[in-house]
Amino acid sequence: MTARINIGSETSDRQTRGAVSDDSPCLKTRYKYSNEEADCAVLPHLAIRDVSYRAATKDCIVRGCRPNVSGRNDDWGYDEVGETRADATAHSDAKQISAEETQGSKEKTSHGKANPGARAIRLPSSEPESPLKNLKDLYAAPAWRGCIDTFDNWDIRGWALSTDNVMGSVGLDIFLCGIHVTSTTTRYNRPDIDKIVGLPIRAGFRINASAISTEAAANIFTQLKKIADTPQIIGDILTIKIADTDIILPFTGKLLAEKIEVSKILPVLDAIIASQVRNEYISVRDQLISLPVPEEDDTSEVKPIAFYLPQFHPFPENDEWWGEGFTEWTNVVGAKPFFPTHHQPHIPADFGYYDLRVEDVQQKQIDLAKRYGIKGFCYYYYWFSGKKLMTMPIDRHVEKNLDLDFCLCWANENWSRRWDGSESDVLIAQRHVEEDDVEFINSCIEYFKSDKYITVDGAPLLLVYRISLLQNPEATVARWRKIVKSHGFPDLHVSMVESFGLTDPNAYGCDSSCQFPPHGVVAPEVNHKIKDLDPAYRGKIYDYKEVVRSEIARPAAEYIQFRCAMPSWDNTSRKGKDGNVFAHSSPELFEAWMSYLCAQARVNLPSSSRFVFINAWNEWAEGAHLEPDAKNAHAFLNSVRRSLSHDRGLVASLDSLPDDEEIGAVTVGDIKSLVQKLANANQQLQGLIRNHGGSVADRASPFVAVDKSWFEVETITAGDRVWLDNINGRPGHDTKIEFFSRQQTLTLRGWIHSPAMLLSPSLPVFVSLSPTDRSGFSYFAKIYDRERREDIINSLNLSESSVWCGFSIKAALNGVEPGRYSLQFLLSKAGDIKDLVPVPTYIELVVS
């Protein structure tokens, strides 16, 4: 049943209320509302604004007002029962809602019935009865009494009771701007009501802003903001319904009469929303930051491709051979250092000991790789005579079309217990018969068809780890090409990995080769140079520095060769004391190596295949990983990025030219030495800056000419003055005139004496130079550094409004025409955006 409620008229009872004030002086202070205007003044007819009530079919009239002594208004909600203090005065003063029996209502519901809520009542013709009597006469209609008497910055209070059972709590639904915010029940002491009814009925209710959910707060905020510019009546904002009815609680006359300044109640909602934003800060931020940025791909750029090991998840074969749950991590975590500077174990950082069954990991790897300029992963493809292992990440890459290019490297050796492809202790074998090789290439076609698959002029790029293991490599590759072409590709690009001493790809019918350090690198063993080497260690230690040196010195190949660098290498985690180590690797050395390879790629490779390979993205058990670990974080990734930079490329290309080559009138050697000098100087300067511990001051901001029409200057207040503690390091108090060259910087520190002005740091202060002989413009510089000067206001007895009178400024004079200027300060006035108040320094500046 729906009902519309009108607030009936009510007469005030000033006399009674007056008695409260007079008879109970103590109440005057304790009762917040004891001085308020008549609560029971004639209440205006109130149309209910809430849309949901527009369809009212019944008139329901609750005439009511707030008892104007509501008993310790600030804390009644928490009154202990025993503390109830309502006294005779309160009693005599209390008023309550009254409701008149509807005249001619079609749907009367009498009191005492099971469902008294839906009473339809109508305004009585005239002669309002005493509300007191009405509250006393609980047999009179309607079945409900109640009123909202406080709305103070979302603190909502009032009372309600059912005449059927005054002791029962009443359920209430609270609506703000038509949005259901919360439900509550009457449960707080209302001594005033108790006194009248004569029972401890706890008729009070109370809701505050904390009941508003963030979602509701946001909605209400939006609604209120639209009407924030005009004061609103309470009924447009707040509605309280008695639960399961359409009875709406009326407001007191006072509440109705007060207009609500919406802008004053918005901050509380804002704070509620803010608390959610704070809780959501990280996800909101990450969502926004990671919005896609368009990529401008320069196809002729160098493309770094990182070998990717798709292990790092358990699968049945490994469970069988190595034990349940075995992954590469099992080896990685067990690594031990064999000498003091031996970096072991490698502890993965950003992705932890990840499991590739988790899809998110692969996505995160791709995001990270892309950020550092890696253009592709080269997945090891474990295909053994029709048996695929560990292809799950590759299949996912294709299926989800993950946003990074990739290619395959067929790991075509036996899988042995020793991880080296040897014939002993084979776990799963390759057969390399003709049928197998055909089946192999057929299995690749589905990957080649991915639009993320890396091609060379349309030909899918396929690496073969040990081409020499094929029975007849040349014929096999030719057969592969035919099959691949039959699937619509222009060709197949087979790149032979330079493993196990393989060098010439043409001998095997391949298109190119790909380096694979540490295979094929030249470096001396340095075991004897390692201090405190564990005597049990039986492996070989090589110097990474030497590897980089020899790789940079390596002459260009006579075939198409993709170069490859490794960030570091160490397989002691797999092989313990028998493992080999490349010691002294560092991001800097790796960067030098990569930079050189990138430069070489630009020179030696056609633009469609400027690949530089990296061994590896994640060979954790071989100590070869770009993925961040605890020691190096993103340093190796940064090396990749820097090696791709234009400057790096430039320097590298320069390096590859002989010093005596002439460019115009200068030689390459001259340019090299100039670049070197600049780089050295910059490095030294940066060192100096860092050594200042961040105390480097901002550069001086220049004086800028400002047109006179842009501001209005008031007259100088007598007695106001700027006191300069120093001008360019010299005491300034007695200075009358200062001479400067335009190359100089004017440095001022001091304080402003202008007691009538508010010197808040939020109000700008300018230093101005006004030509003494011209007009039309002045030079302005803004003061960015303001200082609190308690010392000044204390010693001069100035008010707190002057506490921000201190300032310091460094201003460049290079834009100032030579001439004679008076130096003055210009203050902004609070509450005004146009006028400037000048404060003189009584100093003249001569700029030459």
Binding site: K782, D832, I833
Partner: protein
């Protein structure tokens, strides 16, 4: 996608699309539209998108522009969102309808000052830039409703803006320090760079700041040091609300910018970035107190992080 800086300069007088997102500004709308109408630049199209105003804004705009008044423009497009979608969405929508090589937005309660489009387009042409802006005149029409605290940020606005623009070594560094362009309405940009940047971010306050910072990757903006945009302070924009978003948005804007200039070498040779200003850029970022954002984007991690060894973080 290859970016062709200032490709629009091939046209003698490129079409400028003025996008007017409207939301409940009926009383200011005529002055706004008229300030575009009376620009001395001929080749202008007007794109008016009403973001579901509850007042008569839409009716006013569509009726006015149907009169001969609308013929001043090369083309007029007026439409209305079925529901309120917010400023950035409305602006992006308007731009998607624009046919001009150059685009500018005007808030429906603001005004262009005379000669604005001509001056800025000329400055952009001279500098071969895809982005331009001017000083902003702030007009207080609060009739005393604003508190001194409300007004403080607007005191002597154009003078401060002028000095702030001159404060740093390039406009780009100034923009990194603060949003010198002030308002979406104060930016003129090419459709080309807008497409490169990918539009305005769904931010409440900083979408314009984000836009100009992202544009720095491509080119240095042209600035006209004259007030050519009039920003109206009126009681309707008194309570901004939701200010807590500002902190999130600042971090988003800064980190997106850092990420952009770290991950790739900017095309703008003056762009504040580690590659174009080695050393200086880091010092500036440090002074501005933004190192923590920069470090994160550089992959250095934070002091409090435990995933890296102590000497790394």
């Amino acid at each position: 996608m290859t970016y062709n800086c200032a490709g629009w300069t091939d046209s003698e007088q490129p079409l400028v699309s003025v996008v007017v997102p409207i939301y409940n500004h009926e009383e200011f709308l005529y002055e706004c539209l008229n300030s575009v109408h009376s620009q001395d630049y001929d080749n202008i199209e007007l794109i008016v998108i009403d973001d579901s105003s509850t007042d008569g804004s839409f009716a006013f705009a569509s009726k006015l522009l149907r009169t001969p008044y609308g013929q001043r423009f090369n083309r007029v497009y007026v439409s209305r969102n079925a529901k309120n979608r917010g400023a950035h969405a409305t602006i992006n929508e308007g731009i998607s309808k624009a046919k001009g090589e150059l685009i500018t937005v005007i808030n429906s309660d603001d005004q262009f000052l005379p000669g604005r489009i001509t001056s800025i387009v000329n400055a952009m042409r001279e500098k071969r830039s895809d982005v331009g802006f001017s000083l902003v005149d702030v007009v207080d029409e609060g009739n005393g409703t604003f508190t001194a605290e409300d007004l403080a940020p607007f005191a002597h606005f154009k003078i401060r803006q002028l000095l702030n623009i001159n404060r740093d070594i390039t406009t780009g560094f100034g923009l990194l320090r603060q949003n010198l362009a002030v308002s979406t309405g104060n930016i003129v940009f090419s459709k080309n760079i807008y497409d490169e940047i990918g539009g305005f971010l769904p931010l409440k306050y900083c979408h314009d700041w984000d836009f100009v910072l992202q544009s720095l990757f491509y080119c240095e903006p042209a600035v006209v040091l004259q007030p050519l945009y009039s920003y109206r302070l009126h009681p309707q924009n008194s309570f901004k609300g939701l200010s807590h978003m500002a902190e999130v948005e600042t971090e988003v804007v800064m980190r997106r910018f850092f990420r952009r200039v770290i991950d790739r070498e900017p095309l703008n040779s003056l762009c504040p970035s580690p590659s174009k200003w080695p050393g200086y850029f880091e010092t500036f970022v440090g002074q501005k107190g933004m190192s923590r954002f920069y470090d994160r984007e550089m992959g250095r991690g934070l002091k409090s992080w435990r995933i890296y060894d102590r000497d790394v973080a």
